[in-house]
Symmetry: C2
Subunit: 222 residues, 2 copies
DNA sequence: AACAAAAAACAGTCATGTTTGTTTTTTAAG
DNA sequence: CTTAAAAAACAAACATGACTGTTTTTTGTT
């Protein structure tokens, strides 16, 4: 599924009708089928990798014929694009939930973000992110989303830790540290580059380090 | 280049003759050509990604016909396997050099390892490592090498920092931290998940953290 | 009857493995 | 030293299989 440069309206013909006349039963079913196809795509990327995810496989995974699938997404590219958007929104939703749970406790934040990355969505996202390195079309879609996520990540985190507001430099460092360590471990675990037993000690180390970097604690130590 | 399960002697027929009679002109040229093909494979993986690296492309990159290429590596798989071994040895050599340079100074060690990961070999290696997640044949080759590297990494590092010998727990934690942060940043940079300007502050933070974890310094603070 | 959804059939492209042919180097005999 | 046979290096062509995009046919709602 090479994601060609083709421009293609990702919405099927029925979508326009639906938006004009309100949701008919058919347009509802169509939306369901589209969602099922996107889910199947994510599962395929996790199982086979982005490179080995083909339209016949996605169709089979969704329990549809390839013809039916191409009725909803006229293109392989369209399906991938829709999948990327869905993954990004999943990621944002998950992060927002994590922020709600967190409530000023860095321990919880670290654990929550770590648990997010254990889900299939992260695996699929990293597959796509790495594929984007050598695929200009993928990169065009993915890069702005990566930026948006980083910005929302930071702006959300600054709300959670107001005591950090007057030291944006060390704050950004702490955020980058968290992202790097947690994502780094998640990826290294995927590629069996590190030992699984090290995960917990590492998370605790990160929590400790964050506490050390907090302005309040830095003042305490003076 | 899907790397099928095919067993295949990776050495060409000339190798045996050479080992008996000493290096002839042909066996020398053959070795050169094989090296050129492996280099071309690495370049292709970096440029196009592992998934889009095909035998015609490698042949073109090496300036050979596909037929000639398949004379040296009867199989696409054989070429990939040889490339993996070469990458692994490159990695070990680079690490050994880094260890020689280092000489008891953690600042240098962090910087040196970071610089290693900026080279194409790391990009290629990560492409293969991620592909191995969904490719059993690749995994069979790669996993033992990952283990070997981690072991040599640790045994080399313990020689460099003898003061750490009596605290293997915190030592392994420090090693995993270094690996995770440095590799995590390298990968996040590839996928534009973090900002490039954060690299240097992060490396300095890591150095500081390592100093904090050292037994000697922990004693000082008592 | 009209139209969307689903399925099936078709043609084009590309990588792979295999086979066959050509040139160059090595070996060894005359 | 010359030269013929063998082996290795290189090149080209063929057949197969798989995925892609497109088009046509069937099924089922409204």
């Amino acid at each position: 599924m090479a994601l060609a440069s083709g421009r293609s309206a990702s919405a099927p013909r029925s979508a326009k009708t639906a938006s004009v006349n309100g949701p008919t039963q058919q347009s509802l079913k169509s939306a369901q089928t589209r969602a099922r196809l996107i889910d199947a795509t994510i599962r395929c990327i996790v199982k086979f990798g982005y490179a080995n995810t083909t339209t016949p496989q996605v169709a089979a995974e969704a329990g549809l014929s390839r013809g039916a699938m191409l009725h909803h997404f006229e293109n392989g590219s369209a399906l991938i694009k829709a999948t990327i958007v869905e993954l990004h929104e999943k990621r944002l939703r998950a992060f927002r939930r994590a922020a709600e749970i967190t409530e000023h406790e860095p321990a919880t934040m670290v654990n929550t973000y770590w648990r997010q990355l254990q889900k299939p969505a992260f695996v699929a996202f990293h597959e796509l992110a790495l594929a984007a390195r050598t695929n200009a079309d993928l990169a065009r879609i993915l890069q702005p989303l990566q930026l948006e996520f980083r910005q929302k990540f930071n702006s959300q985190a600054v709300l959670l830790f107001p005591e950090w507001q007057d030291d944006p430099v060390s704050f950004e460092l702490a955020m980058t540290l968290s992202q790097t360590m947690i994502e780094g471990m998640a990826i290294n675990l995927l590629t069996s580059a590190i030992d699984e037993t090290m995960v917990d000690p590492m998370l605790r180390l990160l929590e400790q380090q964050i506490r050390l970097m907090k302005p309040a604690n830095r003042d305490q130590s003076r």
